[in-house]
Symmetry: C2
Subunit: 378 residues, 2 copies
């Protein structure tokens, strides 16, 4: 991997990343395809059409079904879902700690039950790396514990210390796997994850400690899980300066367009979030002037596209009135069109952010957008 | 409308139809978009890509929601769903007689309750024509009663006589509507519908009677509703010769690839059926060598496309293994890919039928296909 910092504006970074699966221009929003597909009937041909650079897939879900060994045998995730561009896989940790039943955390890892068939599964740092190596993603995430955002020092400190020990085991296992003959992607990258809740000194010490490990990139985890936006921005303010500037910085699971603008400003250049696809499936669509709820009666006869001038596959051809009708009639097509629009909106927002950084005009763009986004939104 | 018979082979017809919304090459399979959308998240951009010539929409469903007046005000169905090619609307009759609750049949028409909100609705020949005129489809279907296929003479005869009286009222109302200023498509076509259950003389007399009315096309209705395939083919054998050869002949709601091949051979050139989309949503996909159930375990590691050489959007990019995974994981994308494949298969089957007629080799093609289609199918 080669990370080239093209320009900065304040702490905001504009970079070009070369991976074994092709380039990534940052800041980038990764599109979430949990089980090797974006929810809302969106395929990889669609993703190419809406400017997706990186697809994110979920290790836990794919381990449970169809199984990472099967995906390995079929040539890895890229071959399985027919996507030639970069893929990031999460570690499975977040799902283990949030979705799975009857979990037991020990130094070795976590025991839990599959949400599909209830069978017991054990996952620790080595297991997570082996699964992600089987999936053969471009970027693997370290296996960490994601503690409750507002947990107190007595919970957070030992949790973060264990996450650090787990990170070392992840790095060792990944190095070993990348040297194995059977490994599909021998240049798989590993990003470490900073934790520490909203406790400044724990976040900072952890950021310094993991930065010394010379990983391929660094995520800030454990945010957008219950704390306020202000607390999240504060964590970024104190933490990101202690992560390497010349490597990717990834804010996991975030967020709204506003969150992204604020976080780019604080030095983040990788993002992912289920909002655009989840909101799309509920008929909530993004525009540069706030969100619309297409179920609203006022769109019944509105023959305008979701957003005038938008070049997404929905806006280029279909009206608010038609999409509203589809949503009301519970036709899958309504969801698909809204998801396509929303993902295009997010991908395009990142394009605008990159263009503004290229022109040295990010701050201006950020404040203009923050004003506009408030216009019709609640 | 101009119907040009290009060639025949036995009773099979190969024709070119010019409509105000563009050409139709027959034999043609119309793709069923009940509420102005193909079920399975398929939009009109997709339909263009898979060779759809005519989209069929359902009058009853669109009358109930979003309402035909609304669609009229927004410019008609073509504008509403962004489809520039021909559209056929059914009369609503079939749904009224099969879906709706608490119906009462009188000479004027039928009273029933909406399946959406239970409100009472009255529909007769004039109402059906007005709704279809509002929808502004290319081809409107006459309002008829579709009696149970195996009902006896004492039910069928008066029912067919009423259908004939209704047909005259339809033709008069359509002529009036096409002369109105507010009408969006003033060249809307009207197809009459032959009924008569499986009683030869009633079918024949009715075919002769409606043929004299000089309508734009003629459908054979009331089939594929419970009788055997052999009974259906027999009805076509005795009835179609009494319908005009130089006008479209449409077999409503039929059917399997085998049914289509046999019915083309009996002089039918328009078809529609929900099988390809409905089966696709259940993971049943068509090939030239029989149907596959993609839920079957044997496809778990099958990296071949649904059908080798198929140029549909699913087969050009995705494997049986991937689509099976999507179906098992209940991802909408699995349904979409199967529906796209099946509609492409049907549209392409009609292309092959037309090509074989053009070469004077339909009979040969028909028997080859009938043999092949049995190969893996149950």
């Amino acid at each position: 991997m080669k990370y080239t910092l093209i320009t900065t504006e304040g702490r905001a970074k504009r970079a070009h990343v070369e991976t074994v699966h092709g380039p990534i221009e940052t800041p980038v929003f990764m599109n979430v395809g949990t089980v090797a597909a974006i929810k809302g009937a969106v395929d990889t041909t669609d993703l190419e059409a809406i400017g997706t650079q990186v697809e994110l897939c979920n290790t836990y879900h794919l381990h449970v079904r169809p199984g990472d060994e099967l995906i390995h045998d079929l040539g890895g995730l890229q071959a399985f879902m027919s996507w030639k561009k970069p893929i990031l896989t999460d570690s499975g940790g977040f799902q283990v700690f949030s979705l799975a039943d009857i979990r037991k955390i020990r130094e070795e890892g976590v025991t839990f039950r599959s949400h599909v068939d209830g069978r017991p599964i054990f996952m620790g740092p080595e297991e997570s790396m082996r699964i992600q190596s089987n999936l053969a993603s471009t970027i693997a995430m370290a296996f960490d514990e994601c503690p409750p955002a507002l947990a107190d020092r007595s919970y957070i400190l030992p949790s973060v210390q264990r996450t650090t020990r787990w990170l070392k085991r992840c790095a060792e296992e990944m190095a070993r796997l990348n040297g194995e003959e059977r490994t599909s992607n021998k240049e798989q990258l590993l990003f470490g994850i900073n934790q520490g809740g909203v406790i400044d000194d724990i976040r900072i010490d952890h950021a310094k400690e993991i930065s010394e490990m010379e990983l391929d990139g660094y995520a800030v985890g454990g945010l957008a899980v219950g704390e306020s936006h202000e607390q999240m921005y504060h964590v970024l303010d104190v933490t990101v300066p202690h992560l390497p500037q010349n490597k990717p910085t990834y804010l996991m699971g975030v967020g709204t367009p506003e969150n992204i603008l604020e976080s780019v400003d604080r030095g983040i250049d990788f993002f992912d979030c289920v909002y655009p696809s989840r909101n799309g499936r509920h008929g909530h669509v993004y525009t540069h002037h706030g969100k619309l709820n297409l179920f609203n009666q006022k769109f019944e006869r509105d023959m305008r596209p979701i957003e005038e001038g938008c070049m997404c596959p929905a806006c280029r051809r279909f009206s608010r009135a038609y999409i509203r009708h589809l949503l009301k009639a519970k036709e899958m097509l309504g969801m698909r069109l809204c998801v396509l629009h929303n993902l295009y909106f997010y991908n395009h927002l990142m394009e605008e952010i990159r263009a503004s950084l290229d022109k040295g005009a990010f701050t201006e763009y950020k404040y203009k957008m923050l004003m506009q986004l408030k216009e019709e939104s609640e």
